[in-house]
């Protein structure tokens, strides 16, 4: 590798690269949760779904040799957990927040339990596409190593905006989220709508998990998710239930998470714990600045228990 010194430019480049590398799980989980919450239900259990997805993806990839089958398995596992969440929450008087927390525990526990034999072996992981062929600067080439799942995520965000806004499917979903009574009056089963929305959300979150185990960091172990799932659920509220905003929020969060290591790699180590907390501080500050006590959250589905 040629030694091209680009000095402090390395920091913004590393942050950009980090944003691309780190943000994908946030992106998939937040898009999934966005769909679920738009239907009027909150699934806090996506942390468990993410971890379960990561484990299933790694295990399937290891056993079959195909990482793409692993991604599919992660999605299926995620939608099964989503179905469990939705069917319990469909019972009367059951609190969806609490069920989410319970499923976070169950998903994580099952993944750890079943994943013990998968820590040591090496499974085939997903390839990256090299978009950096045009440059000789290694740092820039690194940034341009982009994974297919990230590209799918980029495409998915505007597609979801469009689908929620214009399709019949999107309209029904939003109706269930804004007023269950209205949806019922139109002859739809609110529980069935929410079941599908939660399963779709679980599917995407599972894929987000597969990114962790099959792309980056690209192996299975029990510390793999340091709360990315629960943070992504928070990002949805931060992003005002808008898929495109979820995308930008994920990038911001991923970039902020890359700041600490990037600063240390150029020799700034004082207070590294505080740099590592940058994503959380940043999110909180932005929320303080952009929220307002006068109006309730713009864009919040009216049926959502957490914002009522």
């Amino acid at each position: 590798m040629p030694d091209v010194s680009i000095g402090l430019w390395a920091i913004p480049l590393a942050v950009l690269g980090g944003a691309i590398r780190v943000s994908t799980p946030f992106l998939f989980v937040s898009l999934g949760e966005c769909i679920t919450e738009r239907s009027g239900r909150i699934n806090l259990g996506l942390e468990g779904t993410l971890v379960m997805g990561a484990m299933c993806a790694y295990g399937t990839s290891f056993l079959t040799g195909s990482p793409w089958l692993g991604v599919l398995a992660a999605g299926v596992a995620g939608s099964l957990l989503g179905a469990l969440h939705a069917s319990i929450c469909g019972l009367p008087r059951v609190n969806d927040i609490a069920v989410g927390i319970a499923l976070m525990l169950l998903g994580t526990g099952l993944a750890f339990f079943l994943g013990k034999p998968l820590i040591e072996p090496s499974a085939p992981i997903l390839p990256s596409i090299n978009f950096g062929f045009w440059t000789d600067i290694p740092q820039l080439r690194d940034v341009m190593q982009i994974n297919v799942l990230f590209l799918i995520g980029i495409a998915l965000a505007p597609a979801l905006v469009w689908a929620l806004k214009t399709t019949r499917w999107g309209l029904i979903l939003r109706t269930a989220g804004e007023s269950a009574d209205a949806a019922r009056a139109m002859g739809y089963s609110v529980n069935a709508i929410r079941l599908r929305a939660t399963m779709t959300g679980g599917f995407l979150s599972g894929i987000g998990g597969s990114f962790l185990s099959l792309v980056y960091p690209g192996s299975w172990n029990e510390g793999l998710s340091s709360g990315q799932g629960i943070t992504a659920v928070a990002l949805v509220i931060f992003a005002r239930w808008n898929p495109m905003m979820c995308f930008w929020a994920s990038l911001l969060f991923g970039g902020a998470a890359a700041l600490g290591p990037a600063l240390q790699s150029v020799g700034v180590s004082q207070g590294y714990h505080l740099f590592n907390a940058a994503p959380y501080i940043l999110t909180l500050l932005i929320m303080i600045i952009t929220c307002s006590p006068k109006r309730s959250l713009v864009g919040a589905p009216a049926e959502l228990s957490i914002t009522r």
Binding site: M1, D3, V4, S5, A10, L13, A14, G17, G18, R21, V22, F112, K116, P117, I119, E120, S122, P138, Q139, D142, L212, Y216, P217, G218, S219, N221, E222, G223, L224, S226, Q228, A257, A258, G260, P261, A262, Q264, S265, V266, G267, S269, Q270, Y272, H273, N276
Partner: protein
């Protein structure tokens, strides 16, 4: 353990067995064997720190009349006190190995005082004269193995830039970083070592991010000190960099990038300890050792390691095995230009000053706080 099975069945079948008395027959059944308890802070399959200890515990299971009981993911709170007591009260354990640094004080010390007839062996702690006599601390001078890894890394780097992904700036970690850097500068006097602290023992995303940042800075050989080195090893090799391993041998993960590594050798030490206990000898309260004593080892060199690297590494290894070779000797200057070991002073491995290390030596880029 058929005996254990039989007695358990009997307890379950006899009477309405879910009574307090149930514990007694179980203890009797175990009483013949010496019961040894191992406690791990993380998962014992972590392919790293805890797994190294579990491999050591597995070596004990082969010995006759030894029963090994294990508990994993025990936090460094009063939970570990209760775990030790539970092993003592319910399983009849007489020799305990709490293997994480944070178990020592106040938790293990408290239990050792409470159960003066049992033996407590702690990994990593610093037993002192004020501590209970039935407690002990052992540790391996793994910095010797890191030093050898450093020599190989120094020879193999093309950019002269090495990287170290570390959890926290504590003495045991700093000592590894410094030994690696000093070894590297034996192989390549111009080599620098860039350190990134992730802040905790198991943070795979941060470890991967640190690995990438280092490689983006031109680093081409990496090593680490975190609980599970798999993330660093795999990510470095995927990016075309070379790695030196830690805790256990990870060569199979990256056969084309794994130069060598610093490994624990607990499977050698634990049977040694248990034989001492069974024979009625006492284990020294403060037990340390390096390559010579067989507490640590160096992974076999990868096939890409050059002749020159092998030769120098083997030479230094032979000196360490022979004893009397001090890695940390004056004049030693830290990376702020301050002399930390004066000229003429050699700090041998047993020197307690080294266990308080709070500096990074010249050639290391990074700060300790």
């Amino acid at each position: 353990m058929p005996l254990d099975q039989v007695s358990r069945r009997r307890v379950l079948q006899g009477t309405a067995a879910l009574t307090l008395a149930g514990t007694l027959p179980l203890q009797r059944a175990f009483a013949k064997d010496t019961v040894v308890g191992f406690i791990y802070v993380g998962s014992r399959d972590d392919y790293g720190y805890n797994q190294a200890h579990a491999v050591g515990a597995a070596a004990l299971k082969k010995l006759p009349e030894i029963k090994v009981i294990e508990e994993e993911k025990v936090p460094e709170t009063d939970a570990v006190e209760k775990t030790m007591e539970s092993m003592i009260n319910l399983d009849g354990a007489t020799l305990l190995f709490p293997t994480s640094f944070g178990y020592y004080s106040p938790h293990m010390v408290k239990l050792a005082n409470k159960y003066p007839k049992l033996r407590f062996e702690h990994c990593g702690g610093l037993w002192g004269d004020k501590d209970p006599k039935n407690a002990g601390s052992y540790f391996g001078y793994i910095d010797e193995a890191q030093y050898i890894s450093g020599i190989v890394a120094g020879h193999m780097t093309k950019s002269g830039k090495l990287g170290f992904v570390a959890a926290k700036p504590i003495p045991q970690v700093l000592r590894n970083i410094n030994a690696f850097a000093m070894g590297a500068r034996l192989g390549n006097p111009k080599a620098t070592l860039q350190v990134i602290f992730t802040g905790d023992w198991s943070m795979p995303v941060k470890e991967a991010e640190a690995t990438n940042s280092l490689i983006a800075q031109g680093v081409d050989v990496l090593t680490c000190h975190v609980d599970g080195p798999k993330t660093v090893v795999e990510n470095a090799s995927r990016r075309g960099a070379m790695v030196c391993g830690y805790h256990v041998n990870q060569a199979t993960l990256a056969p084309n990038a794994y130069l060598t590594g610093a490994e624990w050798n607990w499977e050698e030490l634990y049977p040694r300890f248990v034989k001492m206990v069974v024979a009625g000898e006492s284990i020294p309260n403060f037990y340390r050792g390096g390559l010579k004593e067989g507490l640590v080892k160096v992974s076999p060199y990868g096939r890409m390691v050059s002749e020159a690297a092998r030769k120098q590494a083997d030479d230094v290894k032979a000196k360490l095995m022979a004893g009397g070779y001090a890695i940390f000797q004056g004049p030693l200057v830290d990376n702020k230009g301050k002399t930390v070991i004066a000229s003429g002073t050699a700090r041998g491995q047993t020197d307690p000053e080294l266990e308080k290390m709070d500096y990074l030596v010249e050639g290391v880029i990074g700060a300790t706080s």
